[in-house]
Symmetry: C2
Subunit: 255 residues, 2 copies
């Protein structure tokens, strides 16, 4: 028996998220089915992050146990021939039997893309959240450091989640204007913003609520230095709206 | 009667190109139908470039005549509410009655995206051509200047096209590694290359054949300084393969 770790890129547009559910197409189910076709085995495929519908991944990590004799690094090539082209195994490797993609994780990195433009974009429509109002990027940047460090992030957690502690540590956060494949689209003043956040773990919808709160800061509904009191309040209603799923990317899982 | 100029962005993935054809969904038809719904008029919608199926546009230009009283700049907003989200009118404006999107054009700018990686990308699958073999980008760059200027580009023209002259002038060409929304995908050594080409006009498939020829140079099948003799030969079989449609973007049309 071997433990195989997969690093997976996916375009989440056509899926109801990672996690298996009845009567809905999920990434977990599609990858499990490809493994079954390849090995003849029914496996338990554990993902590091249960990404929501529409959320993308550059480096989701999942692992499964197998008796198959296929060399570990060949799983990626073999599975890619069986998977639809919006799910790609970037890497496959053998890991210790006690490796668990979720519980062994020391942290994660996400990014969130915001397309700030008066007009929508055909090419970014499922890849970045559209914000019409011009954003004050400097104000957004000023608020970033308040998120750094260890805090009770209850104000940035979707209600209804029942996790024991809402204390998390954010180890890195940045916001930059990036050029994009649609650079040169001729739309005056439009820009693509990339928010990157790393931390030891994230509450349900936490990155999307932070993104939504930064959008509030950028559009003047909140001030940069409102952030500390919002965090301290632990009151979800004080933070911004949950930004849409399709702007979110799971970039990397740290072990 | 007024002449309205539209600047259009589209994701070409789900269309059989710009130009109307029987029994196939095209961008021209979809935009015409939206104009009909808005104005009640059957119009002739002329596009600057007849992009092929799968080819994208950041700034396709089209124009039509109308008796509608809708203010010119409002067409974009009104049409966007009627169009699918993979076609977006970025701008609408009134132009002189003698403006013709194709015949008035002084030139165009295209770009071609190449994803050079051992593994495919889920997020770039319809946005960039995948090249597995590692590309020598410096060799590709060295060959660029040979394309500049006025040449008979018969060697870079799809056979079967019946245009009077195959002499064209390329006014600008560059190749750069760009960061992409999938930067940080963890795939060692993978890169996204952006080829930009401007010129007074392009023969059928010319940009895709130039891209394919540069890929040959990058992978060692041709040398940088083979380009002048290939141009001089006017022999299509001496140039590289036509690179796939989905890496091509019509960036801008100059008037």
């Amino acid at each position: 028996m071997r433990n195989i770790k997969l690093t997976i890129e996916y375009d989440g547009t056509n899926y109801h998220g990672w996690q298996s559910q009845d009567n809905a197409l999920t990434i977990q189910d599609v990858v499990k089915k490809a493994i079954h076709t390849l090995t003849g085995e029914e496996c338990v495929l554990t993902g590091a992050s249960r990404t929501d519908g529409g959320v993308h991944a550059l480096g989701q990590v999942a692992n499964f146990l197998t008796n198959s004799k296929i060399p570990a690094d060949k799983f990626s090539f073999a599975l890619n021939t069986l998977l639809p082209d919006d799910i790609v195994i970037k890497k496959s490797e053998e890991v210790d039997m006690d490796f668990h993609s979720r519980f062994s994780s020391r942290g994660k990195k996400y990014k969130y893309l915001i397309y700030n433009s008066r007009k929508p974009s055909a090419l970014l429509r499922n890849r970045a959240a559209l914000v019409h109002l011009p954003l004050d990027v400097e104000a957004m940047k000023k608020s970033l450091t308040y998120f750094l460090g260890t805090h009770d992030f209850s104000a940035f957690r979707a209600s209804g989640s029942d996790i024991k502690t809402s204390v998390r540590t954010i180890t890195g956060i940045s916001l930059n204007e990036i050029s994009s494949m649609i650079a040169g689209d001729g739309e005056n003043g439009s820009k693509l913003l990339e928010l990157e956040i790393s931390g030891d773990g994230f509450l349900y919808n936490m990155v999307r609520i932070i993104a939504g709160t930064l959008i509030y800061v950028g559009s003047g509904k909140l001030k940069s230095d409102d952030i500390p009191s919002i965090i301290e309040s632990r009151d979800r209603s004080r933070a911004g709206k949950t930004a849409p799923a399709h702007g979110l990317y799971l970039v990397e899982v740290y072990y």
